[in-house]
């Protein structure tokens, strides 16, 4: 009975492949309402549908020929081609900005056209029709969910890559002057990122032989005890290497919060702005900023002294 139903499912697919394709494409066009399909050309959609239908038919026929007609497991080797095709489709859809629902709907939307043909072939035999529809729906559900799994995986790959990129981008150590470095910190300071910051700062201190490093936290929205601890550790490590740290960018609300938290930053030089910290660094290295003769001339304040 199962053999019989499955064999017929394969036959229906083979016999009416062209017509099922026509109906399916029409269904997709209607369901899409032009919204998501705008990103896909009609030709591309038809091509994908034809390819999927062909691979599906081959897999089902192979299964029926092998006598495993009742099997509804799409993990087997006979389904490799189908799964590979769907994985490719899912990845390209994810890149094009489709939602997982829209992507899975590609597979699910085949049901209407397919079931209509199965019903016609069954000729009113409800038991046969039920067996066939059950097999077809189980297969298509698995394949549809498979596209979602792949979709999610490719999204996660994108996120992981972005996180790595962010990690690299967010920790530039810049040289402000001879012997003066600065690290502008931006965003969330979790342990992994702080580790990267600390390493690149200590390395830059060695490479440039700098005596002073300014850590600017203007771009850090929340300074809690963990962030404070990370900062203090970085300062302590730099000190061991003979460099002094200045923490700048402590805004009024951050200052008040740190006091309430009970964090002791008194052992560290701190400044409200990066400009103040730079000035302090210059002083500590025996330099200063003076308004030179050039400034007088450009501002039009009379002859230079």
């Amino acid at each position: 009975m199962a053999q019989n139903g499955a064999g017929r499912f394969a036959d229906v697919l083979a016999k009416h492949e062209a017509q099922i394709l026509e109906d399916w494409v029409a269904d997709q066009r209607r369901a899409g309402g032009g919204r998501s399909l705008g990103r896909l050309s009609e030709a591309q959609m038809r091509e994908e549908a034809a390819e999927f239908l062909r691979l599906l038919r081959q897999a089902v026929q192979q299964q029926a020929a092998a006598g495993a007609g009742g099997e509804t497991d799409t993990d087997g080797p006979g389904w490799d081609a189908v799964r590979e095709f769907l994985a490719g489709l899912s990845r390209s859809r994810a890149r094009q900005g489709f939602s997982p629902t829209e992507t899975a709907a590609f597979v699910f939307s085949l049901k209407q056209a397919l079931f209509a043909h199965l019903a016609r072939e069954a000729g009113g035999d409800a038991d046969v029709l039920f067996a066939e529809v059950w097999q077809a729906t189980t297969l298509l559900d698995q394949l549809g969910l498979y596209t979602t799994t792949v979709f999610q995986k490719s999204r996660e790959e994108v996120i992981a890559r972005q996180q790595e990129e962010l990690m690299e981008l967010s920790t530039p150590v810049v040289k402000l002057w001879d012997g003066i470095l600065a690290v502008p910190l931006i965003g969330t300071l979790d342990s992994a990122r702080t580790q990267v910051v600390m390493e690149s700062l200590l390395q830059a201190i060695v490479d440039t032989g700098s005596a002073i490093a300014i850590i600017d936290i203007t771009g850090v929205p929340t300074v809690d005890t963990l962030v404070s601890q990370h900062l203090l550790k970085t300062v302590a490590a730099a000190r061991l290497m003979g460099a002094e740290c200045i923490i700048s960018g402590i805004r009024p609300q951050i200052a008040q919060t740190i006091v309430h938290l009970g964090v002791d930053l008194s052992q560290v030089s701190t400044k409200a702005s990066l400009a103040d910290a730079f000035l302090l660094a210059l002083q500590k290295t025996g330099r200063g900023i003076t308004r030179g003769a050039g400034a007088g001339v450009t501002s039009g304040a009379g002859p230079a002294a």
């Binding site: 979790d190 929340t222 300074v223 809690d224 005890t225 963990l226 609300q253 309430h260 938290l261 009970g262």
Partner: protein, 135 residues
């Protein structure tokens, strides 16, 4: 008395969730019209407690509730975990005391950053920390 007019529950399972909690709290206090200092205090307290829930409680949840009492508006946060619990709450609130690798200031610091603070903990059952801050 206090009438919760909106609530939201967030999971705390990973360190990314701690960031999400901070952002949700920041959104809530901004909407309530908290001053910048009060916003920062509440967000920082939430950050400390969310991390405690994750590190010492083995993960849990936080519930955000907007409060309205007459003309006063505020935000209440309830952190819950099913972790090992705190054997000595008074000691845990002492500055500088920690069983982990932190500074030992989180719990006591959070208490100083908010208007209302309550810890209930049972060893082997879990911990619940409720904080509230009014505008």
């Amino acid at each position: 008395m206090a009438d919760p007019s909106g609530s939201e529950t967030l999971p705390i399972r990973t360190s990314t969730d701690v960031v999400q909690v901070r952002q949700a709290v920041r959104r809530a206090v901004t909407q309530l019209g908290f001053s910048l200092v009060d916003q920062t205090k509440m967000v920082t307290a939430a950050s400390e407690l969310a991390r405690n829930t994750l590190e010492y409680g083995g993960g849990g949840t936080v519930r955000l509730e907007t409060l309205q009492e007459g003309a006063r508006r505020g935000l209440r946060l309830t952190f819950e975990d099913q972790g090992p619990g705190i054997p000595d709450v008074e000691r845990a609130l002492t500055d500088g005391y920690t069983t982990g690798s932190g500074m030992g200031l989180g719990l006591g610091g959070a208490r100083r950053l908010v208007n209302e603070f309550a810890v209930t903990s049972e060893v082997g059952v879990g911990t619940r920390v409720v904080i509230a801050r009014w505008k």
